[in-house]
Subunit: 346 residues, 2 copies
DNA sequence: ACTCTTCTTGCAAGCGCTTGCAACAAGGGT
DNA sequence: ACCCTTGTTGCAAGCGCTTGCAAGAAGAGT
């Protein structure tokens, strides 16, 4: 911004002040929050601003102690459409209140998260949206101490009460498992998610509970480790299929794993859902694009992003928020990848 | 940042100055670019900064005329994984140089683009990455006049020479069409992209040229309008299939349309690729997830994002860049959705 | 030993905006 | 007509940092 010659120089509040015949502080007040400005004055100022095509300089604004109108969004990675959908929701909602997004990805740099958080806070973000699966509570503590507004997305934090939004992972998994059971399945494989993630744990719990509630013996062979990604689902499914008594249905912890499962199953020469059923979790937009269309547990990702923003803005507005957690409902979406088990199977 | 009590106050260069016994301006110089600082002094300063866990305040930095280390990214929308992949590349590359991303979506607000550009420029972004399909040259002009660094992504701008990165849309479409021809197809349907987009035009041109180069009559019935989205591809395909002599292969302007095509074809009771071939463009990650796996023209989206960043940073560093255009090669990825036409078809 | 360069470093100003405080204008009440 | 209250507005200070300018430090040359 400083290495040039003829720059036309954007107008400042001083220009507006001169043009509208009031002092610059009055202009500032008229432009920002209300404060006590006579409405005729305000009109005059706004009019001048419009004519000058004034655009406030956010940097200066936040330096001087005002809002920066930026909120920082920290996500692990962009390649996952799970994240994209959340961001989509965030963006939608944020657009309404003319806040801007500063996007950070942790980029596999495990430890960098706290550094990023520090940067964001220091760079004047008004608040933070954290979609970081593995949260190190160290920076959460820091955030807390400073009363810095933030909300956790799809992430449970037990120790500290934080604002957070989350979906009914356990109930969703329960419902899904139950659905398979009602379809007649008794041998249901489970592809777990990334270890340590709250959502992974919860989904597994839902699966287990559903099984035991229906008097089905939990066979630990049927639970194989996945990583929430296609490849993990693929490998897990291979294991599952090579079991002596392979499951007649597979419940994958998320859609990505389910896609991997579909692939593995197909390679195995089996048909979905005739030979084996597959059920996912998330309901990514791709879920209805694969063949057969994936039956899955819908997680309101976009909604979650939205909701998080609403909470955050509220928290920025009225700092003394009491910590609460918004829980959004999941919903089983029945498509084509599940059917009753083939008769001849055990 | 200002509505609280006990805030621990982040350390500033003054704190560092005090601690290391030099003046604050020396600290500033030591921390930012080199300038002439004795290396022993610099060490002392850096050491102190480290101990204080100093994080520079970007707002202040850019206000004072330095870099803000933010680059603005303007995209139409986030729901499209085409965009996600580009951003992914941008993010990757930007992470190396510790720049931050300010993300803007035009959000269907057609006219808002120039407003966003103004905001970004005024909010201290050091440069802009524009992934905006329909560019109104009005703000491009403005950008140009101010010598503001920006690069266009996947977008050709004839009038003004801008820095831009783009893929070989025409050649890619040519190659794809040729592939279908070599497979034996003579009746190739084409689902066009969003009207007005450079990429759409180029792909259509590639298709046409390939046809004529191989002495195949261009039947205008075979070219139907799409919109680069699933729904558009679906509808277009329905039209194509209801033709008296339906095509034996469909070349969709992008993968999304191809997905729609697959859907429509399946609903029509036809099999891919036995009854009809489908070919896409983009090679989104989903392309290998659908069934059958989509044969498509790979567009190096991630690479394009990367390359754009490289160009932009260079342009920020050395403003007097001459305008150039980077053209990245597309590549035909052969998967399972194309096959020779069925014999019995005309 | 002394002057002239060449490095380094410090001072002050200022980026554009917010805000506490004081000053001033305008009604209300008696 | 006069004082107090409430509503408006202006001034100045300052957010944290960069940078032009000038002064001090340190060698180089004679």
């Amino acid at each position: 911004m400083s290495r040039d010659e003829k720059k036309p120089k954007a107008p400042t509040i001083f220009d507006i002040a001169r043009k509208s015949g009031v002092s610059y502080s009055t202009v500032s007040r008229a432009l920002s929050g209300y404060e006590f400005v006579k409405s005729s004055t305000r009109e005059k100022v706004l009019q001048a601003a419009r004519e000058l095509e004034y655009v406030p300089n956010q940097q200066a604004r936040s330096l001087a102690g005002g809002r920066s109108n930026m909120i920082g969004v920290l996500v692990p990675d962009l390649s996952n459409s799970y994240i994209s959908e959340i961001i989509h929701g965030i963006d939608d909602e944020l657009a309404k209140s003319d806040y801007n997004i500063i996007l950070y990805t942790t980029h596999r740099h495990q430890g960098k998260e706290s550094e990023y958080v520090a940067t964001m806070v220091n760079s004047g973000a008004d608040g933070l949206l954290l979609v970081v699966p593995l949260i190190s509570s160290s920076y959460l503590d820091a955030l807390h101490q400073q009363d810095f507004p933030y909300v956790l997305l799809d992430q449970m934090n037990e120790r500290k009460q934080s604002l957070s939004v989350i979906a009914t992972n356990r109930a969703g998994a329960y419902e899904a498992t139950q659905y398979l059971i009602e379809l007649g399945h008794r041998h249901i494989g489970f592809i777990s998610g990334l270890e340590g993630l709250n959502s992974a744990t919860e989904r597994l719990a839902g699966y287990k509970t559903a099984l035991s509630d229906h008097g089905i013996h939990l066979d630990s062979e049927y639970i194989v480790g996945g990583d929430f990604r296609v490849q993990g689902g693929y490998l897990a499914t291979q294991k599952l299929l090579s079991l002596q008594k392979p499951p007649t249905a597979i419940f994958a912890s998320n859609d990505m794993s389910a896609f991997g499962a579909i692939e593995a199953i197909r390679q195995h020469g089996l048909h979905i859902p005739d030979d084996i059923s597959v059920l996912g979790f998330d309901d990514l937009s791709q879920a209805s694009l694969v063949y057969p269309k994936l039956t899955t547990v819908h997680q309101p990702l976009v909604e979650m992003g939205r909701e998080a923003v609403i909470m955050l803005l509220e928290c920025i507005e009225y700092p003394a928020q009491e910590m609460r957690q918004t829980i959004l409902p999941t919903k089983l979406i029945i498509r084509d990848s599940c059917a009753p088990p083939a008769i001849m199977m055990t």
